[in-house]
């Protein structure tokens, strides 16, 4: 009875199976599972149309017509996916749907299909895909590709992929396996170590070799992770530095407790948004340079707002720190709500130009381009700021006014103007920080709030009135924070840094690098 049922079932299934064999494309019009299976079947079918069809699926250009025929959309027309012949699709096309399982299947399939591509970058990508998927079925293709490959970097990638696939299958000999372990040890990154760790059911000698290889990779990784931690710390430090640089002028040099400092940063970020919108409409070809354009504009916008604030509000409150604090706090709320009314409460999309997205692997550390750009930008901003203070007449007058106001006035310096310009400079620098922060944080009316406490922390820790102190303290706080974070968790790390800072200020109330001399007493 049961046998009969199985037989019946097989009979019922037979046409479906036969159809799938005749036409590996059929599944592409079906459910997610059918699509994944069809992709895997196509990849090994040897069908000449397989590669373009799967590539089109990956790019979202594969469509299915109402009669289940498949079409690849190209510029100015459609091509039948089965035959490769151009034609007119019958009826409305719907895209072949994708979920993560389908995406994985296409990636694996493209791996073995594109090993022989003429483009070296595509071949490298194919080898990496096979390494990730550990696709045993790809070994013969890899062997053929290796025989032809001349580029040494891609050869290594292919050998690593072959080693990964070989170790994951169960056909290879012990000697081959040992060689494969050696290849992976030489690769020496997390992926290799994880692959070695996940191996099971290997012969004893291979298992032992894998264990030693893993240990040696782990030692290397530890060194690298230290370097990586320093990079993370530097990158957080550079963000803190950018946010605090303007405050180092307004609070550090002028002594104004400016709670609206964060809003100057926010205005800079919104300027970036406006610049991007404008460039997208009027100069789409130069969109990649939008951030460069935004930097001076953000400086001007925040600087002008800063000067206006100084002239209209702060100059009446010099020498009254409490009132300044309250007035600028109120101002910060006003600015936030004003931006919320103009631009809306939701986040604005500031896009990252191509040259700033992505990451590269340097040895064992991953360096993301946006963070690297921000570190460089912070260094440039600090250098420019110091140059202005040191080498320009404005800088000279600023220093003169802050060191001895009455003497400066007696020398003919218009001190009220210098106050306004100094405040404008500090605010403008904050605006430039906003351009950088728009790349890593939300452009929302609350953007500045998140940085105000950190900025004051940096300036106070570094020593009020000392720009170098600000640099050192920002980098130190960044690095300490990033090394504490994995140990204590993000929340506790922040608290610990704050506690350490309070203890430090108790011991040295003037910060790391206190100003010395008569200027301090003035």
């Amino acid at each position: 009875m049961i046998l009969l049922r199985i037989l019946l079932l097989l009979l019922a299934l037979a046409p479906a199976l036969a159809r799938a064999e005749d036409d590996p494309f059929a599944g592409l019009a079906g459910s997610y599972d059918d699509i994944s299976n069809a992709v895997a079947a196509l990849a090994v079918s040897g069908n000449a149309q397989a590669e373009p069809a799967i590539a089109a699926l990956q790019a979202g250009r594969l469509f299915v017509a109402p009669d289940n025929s498949l079409w690849i959309k190209r510029d100015g027309g459609a091509v039948n996916a089965r035959t490769g012949a151009p034609g007119e699709p019958p009826g409305a096309l719907k895209p072949v749907r994708q979920n993560n399982a389908v995406r994985r299947a296409t990636e694996a399939a493209m791996g073995s299909l594109t090993l022989f591509s003429a483009d070296p970058a595509v071949r490298a990508k194919a080898a990496a895909a096979i390494f990730e998927q550990r696709d045993t079925a790809a070994i013969p293709a890899l062997d053929r590709a290796l025989a032809k490959e001349t580029n040494p970097a891609i050869r290594t990638a292919m050998q690593q992929a072959r080693a990964a696939a070989l170790l994951s299958g169960n056909a290879a000999s012990e000697a081959d396996r040992l060689a494969a372990v050696e290849v992976l040890r030489a690769r020496g990154d997390m992926a290799a170590s994880n692959l070695l760790e996940s191996l099971s059911g290997q012969p004893k000698a291979v298992a032992a070799a894998a264990a030693t290889a893993e240990a040696s990779i782990a030692r290397m990784q530890q060194m690298w992770s230290l370097a990586q931690g320093v990079f993370y710390g530097l990158s957080l430090g550079s963000v803190l530095l950018l946010a605090a640089a303007g405050l180092a002028i307004t609070f550090g040099v002028m002594g104004v407790i400016n709670m609206a400092h964060g809003e100057m940063v926010m205005l800079g970020a919104y300027t970036t948004f406006v610049v991007q919108q404008a460039m997208q409409t009027y100069l789409p070809s130069l969109f990649g340079a939008s951030l460069i354009v935004a930097i001076p504009l953000a400086f001007i916008v925040s600087g002008v707002v800063g000067i206006a604030i100084e002239r209209l509000l702060i100059r009446f409150l010099y020498g009254r720190p409490l009132e300044t604090l309250l007035a600028t706090w109120g101002l910060s709320l006003t600015l936030q709500q004003a931006v919320r009314s103009i631009f809306g409460a939701s986040n604005r999309d500031v896009s990252t130009p191509g040259w700033m997205s992505g990451a590269d692997q340097f040895g064992g550390i991953t360096i993301t381009y946006n963070r690297l750009s921000i570190i460089v930008f912070a260094a440039l901003v600090m250098a420019a700021l110091m140059a202005v203070l040191r080498y320009t007449p404005l800088g000279l007058q600023m220093r003169a006014v802050t060191q001895n106001r009455r003497m400066a006035a007696a020398m003919g310096i218009r001190t009220p103007w210098i106050d306004a310009l100094t405040f404008g400079l500090g605010s403008g620098v904050a605006g430039m920080a906003g351009v950088a922060l728009s790349q890593i944080d939300n452009v929302s009316p609350n953007l500045g709030q998140g940085y105000i406490i950190d900025s004051f922390m940096v300036v106070v820790f570094g020593g009020v009135g000392n720009l170098w102190g600000t640099v050192v303290s920002a980098l130190m706080l960044g690095i300490v924070n990033k090394f504490l974070e994995p140990l204590a968790g993000a929340v506790l790390a922040k608290i610990l840094v704050l506690v350490l800072l309070i203890l430090f200020i108790q011991r040295k109330p003037r910060g790391l690098f206190p100003l010395k001399g008569r200027a301090v007493e003035a």
Binding site: R103, S198, G229, Q337, N442, V443, G450, K482
Partner: protein, 433 residues
């Protein structure tokens, strides 16, 4: 300067008279309108999410008035701004109930704001409709929860990852406050009950508005490269999501390697983001804008017409308000009055269509039945539904996976009328110590 003083007095009197005359007609009008309170932050951190809900309530009230109002009266919206300030929520709620005398309040987003207004609603016997997915472990006579309980969002999402993506290792990442902590506690217990080992669960909390994710994403990457399929279950809330996803993209973590399923990221949150690097990351909700039903299409068209912005997205809590408002209208019509006690009794069992082609029913535990959808992020900021429950799911307000809440049930029908009835001890009043 006597003349100036008399002038001043005259002016003050005049102003008072003007104010009085301006006030009088509103008092007269108050009798033939029914007031509906809207308690959503329009400024401060939560404005990003809550402003939309205020707008959708105004639209629903407007629409109801076009249909002739309720019980022959026009509805009148009373909008207050609690400014993302939790104690202010309680003050504004008190103002709505005692000064404005509203018939029902639609509001709150964060759990802490709900907890802050809860005693006010219980003391003054008001009605609150709460539209956001939350951690459960609560049932009040005066609150109707139209958002999802954990078993209507979190648990089905984990089930999906387990069965469809074959996930074996789990990162539970959340913002450090009550909703993620409770949800993660439930999820951890649930995963362990499914045989997941301790070392395959990583729990991570970050502060509100966390923006530097480099370390944590690197940690996730490391945790996820052990050869076992890994997924991130994210209860990260609000603004912190954007830098989190950006960092994932930058460090090259794709959804095909380590998928992230989020419970607080919807269409609204993706609107400020380039979604191409996020392709395939997941979200679990009870509604997606992309779900193709006639009711949803009509709702979206109306929303675009009302806001005059054809690109404005809709999202899950908006649907919750849509359902809650329609349920309240139906219950008031059934009770024939806006008297809170009668409306609260009439609410149970009210069923209205939701926007995804099903029916939402108010259950005796003051939660509603909901379908669960899992969607994958698309390049255009929308979600593509890849899985859904066959029917609707009844909320478990007290999670069966937590010690202490396991034996509790809520049933607001007479004679039980209890939000935390202990079935073991047979008493109303929570877990026995």
């Amino acid at each position: 300067m006597p003349s100036f003083r008399t002038w001043l007095r005259g002016a003050a009197l005049g102003a008072a008279a003007l104010a009085a005359s301006a006030l009088l007609p509103t008092h007269a009008r108050a009798d033939d309108t029914i007031k509906v309170g809207i308690l959503h932050s329009l400024s401060g951190t939560m404005a990003i999410s809550e402003t939309t809900l205020k707008d959708v309530m105004l639209m629903l009230i407007d629409e109801q008035n076009k249909k002739g109002g309720l019980l022959g009266k026009k509805l009148e919206a009373v909008v207050v701004d609690p400014a993302s300030n939790w104690p202010l929520f309680a003050e504004k709620a008190r103002q709505l109930l005692t000064v404005d005398k509203v018939a029902a309040v639609f509001g709150c987003w964060t759990s802490v704001s709900r907890k802050s207004v809860l005693p006010v609603f219980e003391e003054l016997n008001g009605i609150l409709f709460y539209p956001v997915q939350y951690e459960g472990e609560e049932s009040s006579r005066n609150v109707f929860y139209t958002g999802a309980a954990p078993n209507q969002q979190a648990i089905p999402a984990v089930d999906y990852l387990m069965s469809e993506e074959k996930v074996k290792r789990w990162v539970l990442a959340g913002t450090d406050y009550v909703y993620p902590r409770t949800t993660n506690k439930i999820l951890e217990a649930y995963l362990k009950s499914k045989g997941v080992a301790d070392e395959d669960i990583m729990i991570n909390y970050t502060p509100f508005g966390h923006s530097d994710w480099q370390n944590i994403v690197a940690q996730i990457k490391k945790f996820g490269s052990s050869g076992k399929k890994t997924a991130v279950v994210s209860t990260i809330n609000g603004d912190a999501n954007v830098p989190f996803y950006k960092e994932l993209g930058n460090q090259g973590i794709k959804a095909t390697d380590i998928p992230v399923v989020a419970f607080s990221v919807g269409e609204e949150e993706l609107a400020g983001l380039d979604t191409k690097p996020l392709l395939g990351h997941l979200a679990a909700w009870n509604y997606f804008e992309s779900i193709d039903t006639p009711a949803n299409k009509a709702f979206i068209d109306e929303w675009h017409g009302f806001t005059k912005k054809p690109t404005r997205t809709t999202n899950d809590p908006m649907e919750a308000h849509y359902i809650g408002f329609n349920m309240w209208v139906k219950a008031v019509e059934k009770a024939g009055t806006t008297d809170p006690n009668k409306v609260i009794d009439a609410m149970i069992g009210v069923a209205v269509p939701n926007l995804t082609g099903g029916i939402a029913t108010m259950m005796p535990n003051h939660h509603i039945t909901k379908p669960v959808y899992i969607g994958e992020v698309q390049g255009d900021g929308q979600f593509n539904v890849v899985w859904n429950t066959p029917g609707t799911v009844v909320a478990q307000e007290w999670s069966p996976y937590l010690e202490g809440s396991r034996d509790l049930i809520a049933d607001w029908r007479k004679p039980m009328s209890c939000g935390n009835f202990n079935v073991k001890t047979g008493k109303c009043g929570g877990a026995s110590k």
